[in-house]
């Protein structure tokens, strides 16, 4: 650890010569002292006078330093914490603007569900953004990146530990409706590349949040598989299952033609860990996000930013102490001489 000191207002140090004032103003009022020259030689009195002048000088010096605002500059320290590097890969297609089931959907009749979902279900993307925002806020040790995808992949926030920026990236996803197409295969390939050339520091996660699947061609499949293997990334898919949309666990050969099921089955063949969460309502979504939060708590080397620490208060306190001592000494001296 360094012992660097910097000043926020270094120019104030130019006032330092003021500190010699009490020392050179020997006459009547150095620190408020009467000239004692007319008294018989009094070495003790002189000594005390000098000490008091020195205290006044020190008080002024301390104040000048405090005004210059000394402190330890902002530093970065390498720490090991528990956390992960999480890339949030969020679908920004138009279907994400549709609504989820209301939380009380289990109490609704089969005919009410569709109507109630349309009228008061939460919008998928909005529910997802809110929960991801909370997720980020609750995990200060993780480092996050935010990417959106539609026809292209928008890597909006590269990995950072500045939560405010991550939140700003998530929030931006909520401005206006989504884009028309989605290409989840391309998004995964380019997201995996985001881990390239980064030191492997612990655990890496892609948290895919989308409401649709895709049947990927062989080349894309190979590229994705190779990427997961090389970058050692765990995949979580939070599948925002719309009302009447296919279930990922649908059995049977025929269901392989359903894009969502096909994508799920492909993910299951990945060499790295994979988990899918089907979320139909905001409640499910919250449970899935909490689940991911519980699972990933591996040691992670991270750089912690230590904010600048200001030392000016110490100098103010020192100056206060000196001033108080001067006051006390003057009372005592007054009694002594009168």
């Amino acid at each position: 650890m360094s012992v660097d000191i910097d000043f926020l207002r270094p120019a104030m140090l130019a006032l330092m010569p003021l500190a010699v004032l009490p020392l050179i103003a020997r006459a009547t009022e150095a620190g408020g002292y009467p000239d004692v020259g007319w008294l018989p030689a009094d070495p003790l009195g002189r000594g005390i006078g000098l000490a008091l002048r020195a205290m006044a000088a020190l008080a002024i010096a301390a104040l000048v330093i405090a005004l210059a605002a000394p402190g330890r500059p902002r530093t970065v320290e390498l720490r090991t914490g528990r956390g992960a590097e999480v890339l949030l890969l969020i679908d920004r297609s138009r279907s994400m603007d549709e609504r989820m089931l209301p939380n009380d959907w289990r109490r609704l009749g089969p005919f009410e569900i569709r109507h109630q979902t349309r009228s008061r279900g939460r919008v998928k993307s909005q529910a997802a953004r809110e929960l991801l925002g909370e997720f980020v806020a609750r995990r200060p040790d993780d480092r996050f990146a935010v990417s959106f995808f539609s026809a292209s992949t928008l890597h909006v926030v590269p990995f950072t530990d500045h939560d405010e920026v991550v939140q700003a990236g998530i929030a931006a996803g909520g401005v206006h409706r989504g884009l028309s197409e989605t290409d989840v295969g391309r998004a995964l390939v380019s997201s995996l590349a985001r881990f390239e050339k980064r030191a492997y520091t612990g655990s890496r996660i892609i948290l895919l949040v989308s409401d649709g699947g895709a049947r990927l061609d062989r080349d894309t499949q190979m590229a994705i598989r190779a990427g997961f293997e090389r970058q050692r990334v765990t995949l979580y898919w939070i599948y925002l299952k719309g009302f009447g949309r296919p279930d990922l666990e649908q059995a049977g050969e025929a269901s392989a033609a359903i894009p969502e099921v096909a994508l799920h089955r492909f993910f299951q063949t990945l060499p790295t860990p994979y988990r899918a969460y089907q979320a139909e309502s905001p409640e499910d979504l919250a449970a899935a996000v909490a689940d991911v939060g519980r699972e990933q708590n591996h040691p992670l080397d991270f750089e912690e930013r230590i904010p600048r620490s200001d030392h000016s208060r110490r100098f103010v306190a020192a100056a206060l102490l000196l001033v108080a001592s001067l006051l006390v000494a003057r009372r005592w001296e007054l009694r002594g001489t009168s």
């Binding site: 408020g32 104040l63 605002a69 926030v157 990236g169 206006h176 206060l320």
Partner: protein, 302 residues
Amino acid sequence: MIARRAAADWRLTAAGALLVAALLMPPLPWPRSNYDFLAVFDISQSMGVTDYRQQGRPVARLDYARRALAAALTELPCGSRLGLAAFTGYRSLMLLAPVEVCEHYGDLLATLAQIDERMRWAEASEITKGLYWALRAARDIGGEPELLFFTDGHESPPLDGPPPALFGDLRKGQIHGLVIGTGGNLPRPIPKRDSAGRDRGFWLPDEVAQGRGPDRRNEHLSARREPHLQALAFRTGLDYLRLEDFHGLSAAMQAAPRVRRREVPTDLSWVPLALALALLCAAPLGALIGNRGVRGSHRPHP
């Protein structure tokens, strides 16, 4: 004598009280000048034309615009905020909600570096609509930031007839800011890039949508379309700026009407500290001056 001692005591006591106040006082809300911006970058193909030069090297319009903004950011007072968006196809897409520029300068540069052709989600370049969408974004992101819309004005497909009317939910002058005309005066060929960013030569006359009139057959070439952009700026109530150098952008961004006064928690403890310092210095300083003359004659010297 006694009066002088009393005055000195009073000064010391007051200085002590001021120091106590300096130690105890919390940061107080204090109005400061800063700025709010939403920068929107045209990422359509014509922004790849390299008609800027820096240190003798050709620089693409988009790169120059991003560098100019990065340079201007360093000159904004802390507490200012910047959000980022991109435009292609027919709309602007919000990428990053506004964040503070000093604390997050590194992150803003990192996001800025991502805004290029790899993001392009559509190939058209309907700038008028893109600007309207950008106005919507500035209106809806909160805080109504000033808009900075970087574009060369090259509409593709070309506008035949009047440009689309301002969206019904927008009012002229509701959002302030700048349309920033990017690019050179001379029409130049547009580099063709694939989605991976690889060069594929230049667009040929028969590969792009051409206008209907015989004088509108040069859509494969691109220059800064200033009259169009000036008309757009007028129609939306924005100001127009031609992007010629970094300083020009920075100066236009900090023009007086764009200043926001915002109360920021500010450490004002320097005020009591400075007063205490003045009180402590008053006595010896007075004595010094007194010794020299004026007050010297009145000194009650026995």
